[in-house]
């Protein structure tokens, strides 16, 4: 209880309250615009918070981080276009509800499920805080290295069917993070004698390039999407009743969100997958899923919105981000001289509690705001795509140029923008690059510290947490390899069972030659067997 009061004391300031209000409402509006997303907004606004007090700047960006998914549900439900990537599943049940005239009801369900998911998650975190404060100091350099490695491995394997390229892009991220002056020996790495590369590649430049500028290019290169205006039926408070009617789905989905959020590298998509599958399998009407099921909508929204608060656990306790947004938040913390990790839990527990309480308050603020402003937010969601692209490009300039007033940074961001555009065209993942940059830096620093105290390789995993993390990593990699082998075997079987004979002339000749040789062989063997027929005479 003392901790909660200490946290409230940190937040009890007019500028923090204002930052929370602006951040949460801004986050909802950003989330409601398809194609912008919280990562872009945080990256653009980060330099603007440099001059603010750490808690004010952090609260502003935390507001955007925690509230964008609420806004993302609006276009997902009403125009079948997810506002943020994690709202994609919401379209499956939300949009069919809109088509049958229950748009307002669907939105209300999404808000309420999101709110309940977030509150459950925050309550779990507040209750877990004393435990985390005890566990976090048990993480030394080698445990943090292994946890970061686990996060990276999970990010890679979570890209089903794209694990190889996800791993390659994660390695690219690690490589980008190593460019410039090496921090211990102060030697240059991959600068190619170019002075502008000596200071390295800033994470914000990469994020703005890969997310914001590439998105601007994608929007400007495409056409404006015409959206149908569908009359919204149902009441804004019906969601409360519907969510109250499905406490099991809401509770379990939020639980999945909390669990998946805590594990680095897993995040919203896996929690949604588990929650949605659970809801469908246990539903009395599983056929309704994908056609406007209330349970499906509750599962997807409560699972995704319980992740942000839970994802703060590895970030705050160990300094390890679980996905790109927490990676951005890590940059935010560093910029404001707050170093997440075991030390934060030991020495600044009031600050940690203030962050949790800020998350709680922003959810309440957002819920109240949304219940009365959905119609106005729909106008934001209908901005023409290409015009939005111009807006993102203009704002990206502010984000990049205000970092160091460097035109080179802008050029680098534009190059990353082109690269991101290509990745988006090919539906290849961007997240592993960001995670590679952030986690690669952590892994390099922690491995160097850990290896200084290790005599034999086994010493590295002789502590229980290190051993558990190591075994977990080995297990995941083994499962991944097993899955790949089974998949390859199935593909080969399918290929052989359906492969038609080649019609190429060369192949025909080859088959004819094989046939003739086989026939000739048979004939010769038959002739020879006639010539050397074994004698049947008895002596």
């Amino acid at each position: 209880m003392d901790l909660i009061f200490a946290g409230l004391e940190v937040l009890y300031r007019w500028d923090v309250a204002l930052a929370l209000l602006v951040g949460s409402i801004g986050g909802v509006m950003i989330g409601a615009v398809p194609g912008v997303g919280p990562a872009v907004a945080i990256a653009i606004l980060l330099p603007a918070t440099f001059s603010m007090d750490p808690i004010v700047g952090l609260t502003l960006l935390l507001g955007i981080y925690g509230s964008s998914m609420y806004g993302g549900a609006i276009p997902a439900i009403l125009i079948n276009t997810p506002g943020t990537a994690v709202n994609a599943l919401t379209t499956y049940d939300g949009y069919p509800m809109t088509l049958r005239g229950e748009g307002r009801k669907a939105i209300s369900i999404a808000y309420t499920a999101s709110f309940v998911g977030a509150i459950i998650s925050i309550i779990c975190l507040i209750s877990l805080a004393p435990v985390l404060a005890k566990v976090a100091p048990m993480f030394g350099a080698r445990e943090i290295f292994l946890a970061a490695l686990l996060g990276l491995v999970l990010v890679v394997v979570s890209h089903r069917g794209q694990a190889a390229i996800a791993a390659a892009l994660a390695c690219l991220g690690i490589f980008i993070g190593t460019i410039g002056l090496e921090p211990v020996k102060y030697t240059k790495r991959y600068t190619f004698d170019q002075s502008w590369l000596a200071s390295g590649v800033d994470l914000i430049v990469v994020v703005l390039g890969l997310y914001a500028i590439s998105q601007a290019f994608t929007l400007m290169q495409g056409d404006d999407v015409k959206t149908k205006r569908v009359p919204l039926g149902g009441g804004m408070f019906q969601g409360l009743r519907e969510v109250a009617r499905h406490p099991r789905v809401t509770g379990v989905s939020s639980g999945f969100g909390v669990m998946m959020g805590i594990i680095p590298g897993v995040g919203e998509f896996t929690s949604q997958f588990l929650a949605y599958t659970y809801a469908q399998k246990t539903s009395k009407r599983p056929d309704d899923f994908g056609q406007g099921s209330v349970e499906g909508l509750i599962a997807s929204e409560s699972a995704n919105n319980s992740v942000p608060a839970a994802a703060m656990v590895p970030l705050l306790a160990l300094g390890i981000p679980g996905e790109e947004l927490t990676a951005m938040m890590l940059a935010v913390f560093y910029v404001h001289n707050v170093v997440p990790g075991p030390g934060l839990f030991q020495n600044q527990m009031d600050f940690v509690m203030a962050i949790y309480l800020a998350l709680l308050f922003l959810n309440i603020l957002v819920m109240v705001f949304l219940l009365f402003s959905t119609n106005a937010l729909m106008l934001v969601a209908r901005l023409p795509n290409r015009f939005l692209g111009v807006g993102i490009l203009t704002l990206s300039f502010v984000g990049i140029y205000s970092l160091r007033n460097s035109a080179t940074d802008c050029l680098m961001a534009a190059v990353f923008g082109l690269f991101g555009f290509i990745l988006k065209r090919l539906s290849l993942p961007i997240v592993p690059i960001i995670m590679g940059i952030v986690l690669g830096g952590i892994m390099e620093a922690k491995l160097r510290i850990a290896m200084a105290r290790v005599k034999t390789p086994f010493d590295f995993i002789d502590r229980p947490i290190a051993m558990a993390l190591f075994l977990f990593i080995i297990l995941i990699i083994a499962f991944q390899i097993r899955g790949a082998v089974i998949q390859a075997r199935r593909r080969k079987e399918a290929q052989w069972s359906t492969r038609p004979a080649s019609t190429r002339f060369g192949m025909l000749l080859s088959r004819r030659k094989d046939f003739l040789l086989t026939e000739r062989g048979k004939r010769l063997r038959a002739e020879r067997s006639m010539l050397s027929r074994p004698s049947t005479d008895k002596d």
């Binding site: 690690i174 490589f175 056609q291 502010v398 035109a407 290509i422 090919l426």
Partner: protein, 182 residues
């Protein structure tokens, strides 16, 4: 349910091989430059060598890049040409945003010369016009957006964007204001 929302989309086939080839080539270039671009520190363990992590990253890029390439070729049944007509058409689309990159860089170089507010007031409507919008409403909206961006970020939030060189020619009273807020 009409289709499974969790089946990971592997994306379109066009351009994949081209990307994988370019990526593998880049990865090999990075790894082959490890000796030139990093230093070997004497009396230092392998894990603490400046080149250790770039080496790990480069080796990973090569290994997984080649595995991805092999997977794509196997997906095609190892038949057909490496780069198809569709791949070449896709590569041409990749080059299209170069025009917007040029627009962006002109804007970047214009800001320190003519100032953030004038540059944004020209850039936003000009690019809006280039994208095919002709309605005065949206063109004025782009001007208003540009003004709002400058006023909010530079004027209110105080982000560090230098004043334009052109502001030096303004009268004394206005110059300081323009340098700080516009």
């Amino acid at each position: 349910m009409s289709d499974d929302p969790f089946l990971a989309s592997k994306g379109p086939r066009r351009g994949q091989i081209l990307f994988a080839l370019a990526f593998a080539g880049f990865a090999i270039f990075i790894l082959s430059n490890l000796g030139n671009q990093t230093t070997w520190a004497p009396r230092t363990k392998l894990f603490a060598q400046p080149g250790f992590w770039p080496g790990v990253a480069g080796a990973g890029m090569v290994l997984f890049g080649l595995l991805h390439l092999r997977g794509l070729r196997r997906g095609k049944g190892l038949r057909g040409p490496w780069i198809s007509r569709e791949d070449r058409a896709e590569a041409r689309i990749w080059l299209q945003p170069l025009e917007y990159t040029a627009w962006f860089m002109v804007y970047v170089f214009a800001v320190p010369r003519i100032g953030h507010l004038p540059a944004t007031m020209i850039f936003a409507p000009a690019l809006t016009w280039r994208l095919g919008y002709r309605s005065p409403r949206i063109l004025w909206a782009s001007v208003a957006f540009g003004v709002a961006v400058v006023l909010i970020f530079k004027g209110v939030l105080g982000v560090k964007i230098p004043g334009g060189a052109i502001y030096d020619y303004l009268p004394d009273g206005i110059r300081a204001f323009a340098l700080r807020y516009l």
